[in-house]
């Protein structure tokens, strides 16, 4: 091997080593949110069950945790559809098309998306527009009369 080739390889190798020592931890840190294990169950209260009248669709509020870093983005709304005393469904407010915020119209009993024309019936089934499926439903439970939902039960973008 010629001296120049050897030196060239040495310089290239050293450069790669330095790039690796600096670059690999930097990339891992940058990608760390995506490398964590799947989401754990995260139960949050959205109000007392008695606050949601039977036979109607109400709005529940999930209060974000602003005491720890990174702070949650304040509060988010969910729809609570309570057809009978026991029949409770908690819908995400995000359209299953592209996450725009749905609005409930008690007159037509439909959920409307302002973005691309998604329309859902009161039971969450898709009526119109490009959404691929029904509205997202949260897993829910009732503890001491308080309605709780599992935030990890729907996709992270919803």
């Amino acid at each position: 091997m010629r001296r120049r080739t050897l030196l060239g390889l040495l310089v290239s190798g050293a450069s790669l080593l330095v790039a690796g020592v600096v670059g690999i931890p930097a990339v891992i840190t940058g990608l760390s949110p995506a490398l964590r294990p799947p989401r754990q169950e995260t139960w949050r209260s959205i109000g007392r069950l008695s606050d949601f009248p039977t036979g109607a669709v109400g709005m529940g509020i999930v209060v974000g945790d602003t005491t720890v870093w990174p702070r949650s983005f304040r509060s988010q709304a969910v729809f609570v559809s309570r057809q009978t005393d026991d029949d409770v469904v908690v819908f995400s407010r995000s359209c299953t098309d592209l996450g725009c915020p749905l609005t409930y119209d008690p007159g037509s009993t439909c959920f409307f998306c302002p973005c691309h024309g998604g329309i859902f019936a009161q039971d969450g089934t898709r009526l119109a527009g490009p959404p691929k499926g029904p509205m997202y439903r949260y897993a829910h439970r009732i503890r001491d009369g308080v309605l709780q939902i599992d935030l990890s039960s729907i996709p992270p973008s919803a």
């Binding site: 990608l31 949110p33 995506a34 964590r36 989401r39 995260t42 709005m59 509020i61 974000g64 870093w69 990174p70 702070r71 949650s72 983005f73 304040r74 509060s75 988010q76 709304a77 407010r93 995000s94 098309d97 592209l98 996450g99 725009c100 915020p101 609005t103 119209d105 008690p106 007159g107 037509s108 009993t109 439909c110 409307f112 998306c113 302002p114 973005c115 691309h116 024309g117 329309i119 019936a121 009161q122 898709r126 009526l127 119109a128 527009g129 490009p130 959404p131 691929k132 499926g133 935030l151 990890s152 996709p155 992270p156 973008s157 919803a158």
Partner: protein, 472 residues
């Protein structure tokens, strides 16, 4: 003394080669409208300068971002002007980039030896579109916030890695303070750095290989050698060639003057974009995207549900791959638009489609929305008592949310009641309202609309079918 100093500066700062190889070089004569690339450089400079000033006053924290934009706009001296200039320059940059792209397709600007110039340009196109979106997310108003949500939802649809992409972009399992700092860092550090590096390289390649000349447009060119010979022959020709600075620069500067005048004029006339309500997930909103993305929004709205989720992420990827492959697929020797009817047709269709879709998005006939007003009746028509009561019940039962009557009403989700395919009888209407046929975008009103109210609503629809198609 002065010339001695100038010589010293040129020598010590190494400006000689720049003067010789860039400014004082001979180039083939270009028509004025070839200055769109230079206009893009001017816009980029305006964006960098105004962006730096905005970053000095902006706070990338979820509780303060919105207020800091308000502060910049209303409390800082000339803050409104700087923010307006940044906004309009960004919008104009997207438009100019599109026109630049169309011109390159029309004139075969991606053909040998300019393949690399084109490839770098394709990366620039996507980077500019990305950063133009991230820019309005930073306002953290309803439009910005839901713009971010739309992107995250599109990521979610990517098979296998969708969840991970969302987690990476959000900085965790939900939108938190980390999300906004990520958007901020990407918009003001990562993207501008990439943009400046790639723009520098793009300009270098333009200097090295030149732009498509009038001569190249007229005759077929089979080889790179042929192109280079023709290019240099034209550049050195006493009539067909000219010096780049200042002759060619002055000639291609009208585009730059136009965009600067437009950006400043729009800032003075319209001002910076009004902020919508602060991002708030608990409030009802009709947030929409910025005008330069309206066409894409319309396209998504028109897609059937079986295709939409895949299209949302696959379309940009497919477009990127297609543009990257273009120089290697189109091997015809012609470069002018007259001899390339396919490229010309494609550009015309593209422009018409984007304008048409943007207009459609402005109307958004596919959007149903709660309406508070009862439908109008034609002048001179007096409804029977039950039909009149039915008309007044329309908002209560959300009929106006989806149906227009004789052209009046925003939504066209359901058919216009004065323009239905055939006349329905009272019994048919009653049955339709209570039990809509499968596949029809209408909820069942069984158990919700009954008794007298049902009869009154049906009575009004029965009459509305006889209205003229347009109420004057």
């Amino acid at each position: 003394m002065l010339s001695k100093m100038l010589r010293w500066v040129v020598d010590r700062f190494g400006l000689g080669p720049i003067w010789d190889n860039v400014l004082d070089r001979q180039v083939p004569k270009d028509p004025w409208y070839h200055g769109d690339g230079m206009a893009l450089l001017v816009l980029l400079t305006m964006l960098v300068v105004t962006g730096i000033v905005l970053a000095l006053g902006y706070c990338p924290a979820i509780d303060e971002a919105y207020q800091s934009v308000e502060y910049i706009t209303h409390a800082q001296t000339l803050g409104w002007f700087v923010r307006g200039l940044h906004y309009w320059s960004a919008g104009l940059m997207v438009v100019m980039l599109f026109l630049h792209f169309c011109r390159q397709v029309l004139l075969g600007g991606y053909k040998a030896p300019r393949e690399a110039t084109w490839l770098v340009g394709v990366f620039l196109l996507f980077i500019v579109l990305t950063t133009s979106l991230l820019g309005y997310v930073l306002r953290w108003d309803e439009r910005g916030y839901y713009g971010l949500r739309v992107v995250l939802s599109a990521f979610q649809n990517v098979p296998y890695v969708g969840d991970r992409m969302v987690l990476l972009a959000q900085g965790g399992p939900e939108i938190t303070s980390l999300t906004l700092t990520r958007v901020f860092a990407t918009h003001v550090v990562l993207v501008p750095l990439l943009l400046l590096l790639l723009v520098g390289y793009h300009v270098y390649l333009v200097i090295l290989h030149g732009t498509t000349t009038m001569g190249e447009r007229k005759e077929p060119i089979d080889t790179v050698e042929e192109q280079r010979e023709l290019y240099h022959e034209q550049a050195e020709h006493p009539v067909k060639g000219e010096v780049f600075f200042p002759t060619a620069v002055i000639k291609i500067s009208p585009w730059s003057l136009i965009v600067v005048t437009l950006a400043v004029g729009l800032t003075l006339a319209v001002g910076p974009p009004e902020l919508m309500q602060p991002a708030n997930e608990t409030a009802a909103t009709t947030a929409s995207e910025e005008w330069w993305f309206a066409w894409y929004s319309a396209l998504i709205a028109l897609l059937p549900p079986a295709v939409a989720p895949t299209f949302q992420w696959l379309f940009p990827v497919a477009l990127f791959v297609l543009l990257i492959l273009l120089p290697f697929v189109d091997r015809s020797p012609h470069r002018g638009w007259r001899k390339r009817p396919l490229a010309t047709t494609l550009v015309i269709v593209l422009i018409l489609a984007i304008l048409g879709l943007s207009w459609l998005r402005h109307r958004s006939p596919w959007t149903g929305w709660p309406a508070a007003e009862a439908p109008s009746v034609p002048r001179g028509v007096i409804l029977a008592a039950d039909a009149e009561q039915g008309r007044l019940l329309f908002p209560k039962y959300g009929c106006s949310s989806c149906h227009a009557v004789a052209g009046l009403g925003r939504s066209q989700v359901g058919p216009d009641l004065a323009r239905m395919d055939h006349m329905y009888s009272q019994a048919e209407l009653r049955e339709y309202v209570l039990h809509p046929p499968a596949g029809v975008a209408m909820p069942s009103y069984a158990g919700h609309l009954e008794g007298n109210d049902l009869e009154r609503v049906v009575a009004f629809v029965l009459v509305a079918q006889t209205f003229p198609r347009n109420i004057e």
